[in-house]
Amino acid sequence: MTMAAETIVRLLGQNVPQDRFRCAPDGERQVAVELGAEHVKAAVRGLLHGENARFVTLAAVDKGEDIELLYTLVVGGILVTLRTAIAKEVSQTETIVDVLPAAELAEKEVSELFGIEFAGHPRQANLILPDGWPADKKPLRKPLMGNVIPQARLTVENLLRDAASVRVSPSSMSRREKAGLPKRPAMASAKEESMKEFIDLVIRTGFDKRAGYDWEKRKLRYK
């Protein structure tokens, strides 16, 4: 770790638990920090304790499933970028304007163009868009979409739900019974511990995150 990164870790560590952010040097005097949106304000507070801390900008990138927010500050001559992702289904995060007033216009711009609501933001009137612009039209926001091509989505959902490319449905079980076979084939879905092992494997490959799979709803986050 560079000296710059060590400095930033120390500042962030005052306000954010160490296991809640990941800090990586991005050059001699440049540091990138990944963290959850709920820790951004506390992280900014921590950085403001550094020498000559000042806000540079807030940028947004539409990643398909999430809007990525990049808060950039300079602290003691080190360029720090706080990187966080806001799920499009949520599209809301806390404003940092109360601790860093210079972020007011940047947050407003992101809000209007990408549809992220910064809760507690002081400004109501449009900054970039004309008055009367439809509230549901966000010029730089794409529809919610992920990496899995439409043709593979059903198969991916079947795989993560039943460990099979074809759904283990009531009709397939009834077909098997009619054929004189056990209702379920000896696949992972027939045995709880095998299914757990399979899911563990999927999570360890990181595929569920890459694909944008919602384990609670048991389907992809996008259609």
Partner: protein, 284 residues
């Protein structure tokens, strides 16, 4: 077994069990297996996941101390390719070994993976099949091999398994006829993107070529190809194509019938009418 055979075509599973039993082959069920994964969309969608899932399935067979006999062309290709990658690519093997270790598994490459066609041809033999016949299939049939059957890892002889398939079909007593388009894809992968193109550009030329032969049915060794043929021919009317449908029979069903299985044993309820009629007519 794969996913498509036990969940869409359980009759093929019944036929497989019957064929192996009649031939005196003792099969061990691979408990807890998952999708291989399917090579057309899943295998390509995420290679990291694909190889890890394949490796887990291979480790189950290794743990059971049994070589793997695969009933599906797609599963066969996926598993054979995964095994080859794990043998030759150290970076991938190291990564997969770590993932497997984290779930309490390991794969050391100690098993053989065989397509059921190779197993029946090499390990059982056509002579034993002929000796087991109870009702030789006195019909003219054509083969559809399926693209994944051409996959070879040990040699460049891509027609090795198709030749074995032909020998097995003939061992059932059936008379083999060629349309000239046996090697053309059924259109299943294209159908994932454009069903009409798949039917018109792949299936229809095959069926037209078949219509110029005395073939009464088409024999498959891949459940995805069989599915594409059955559903695709069902779509002919919708696409304005006036061609009769060909019965679609899996090689294991053909062998089971020739070993004395009755149509009712093979659970053909959800199959194309032409297939049901063909099997029932054969019995009458």
């Amino acid at each position: 077994m794969g996913c498509v055979i036990p969940l869409r075509f359980p009759g093929i599973e019944v036929a497989a069990r019957r064929v192996f039993r009649e031939l005196g082959v003792d099969c061990v069920e691979l408990e807890g297996y998952s999708c291989c994964p399917e090579p057309v969309v899943l295998g390509l969608a995420d290679k990291e996941l694909g190889i890890a899932v394949s490796a887990r399935n291979l480790s189950l067979a290794e743990e059971a101390g049994a070589d793997l006999v695969v009933l599906c062309n797609g599963c066969f290709e996926t598993l054979v390719e995964a095994d080859a990658v794990l043998r030759h690519d150290e970076a991938v093997r190291s990564n997969v070994t770590q993932v497997l270790a984290a779930i309490g598994r390991r794969y050391e490459g100690k098993i053989k993976i065989k397509h059921f066609i190779e197993f029946l041809h090499e390990d059982v033999g056509t002579d034993r099949i002929r000796k087991t016949l109870k009702r030789p299939m006195d019909v003219a049939v054509a083969c559809h091999y399926g693209c994944h059957l051409f996959r070879e890892t040990a040699s460049a002889d891509t027609l090795r398994k198709p030749r074995m398939m032909r020998d097995l079909v003939e061992a059932s007593g059936a008379r083999l006829v060629d349309s000239g388009l046996e090697q053309l894809c059924c259109g299943f992968p294209i159908a994932q993107f454009d069903k009409a193109v798949a039917v018109k550009e792949r299936l229809l030329p095959k069926v037209n070529a078949l219509s110029k032969t005395p073939a009464e049915a088409v024999i498959f060794c891949c459940p995805a190809c069989l599915n594409q043929f059955e559903t695709g021919q069902g779509d002919f009317g919708e696409l304005g194509v006036d061609v009769g449908a060909y019965p679609c029979v899996h090689l294991l069903e053909l062998l089971a019938l020739s070993f004395g299985a009755r149509p009712a044993d093979l659970s053909l309820d959800y199959r194309l009418d032409a297939t049901k009629e063909f099997v029932e007519c054969f019995w009458e």
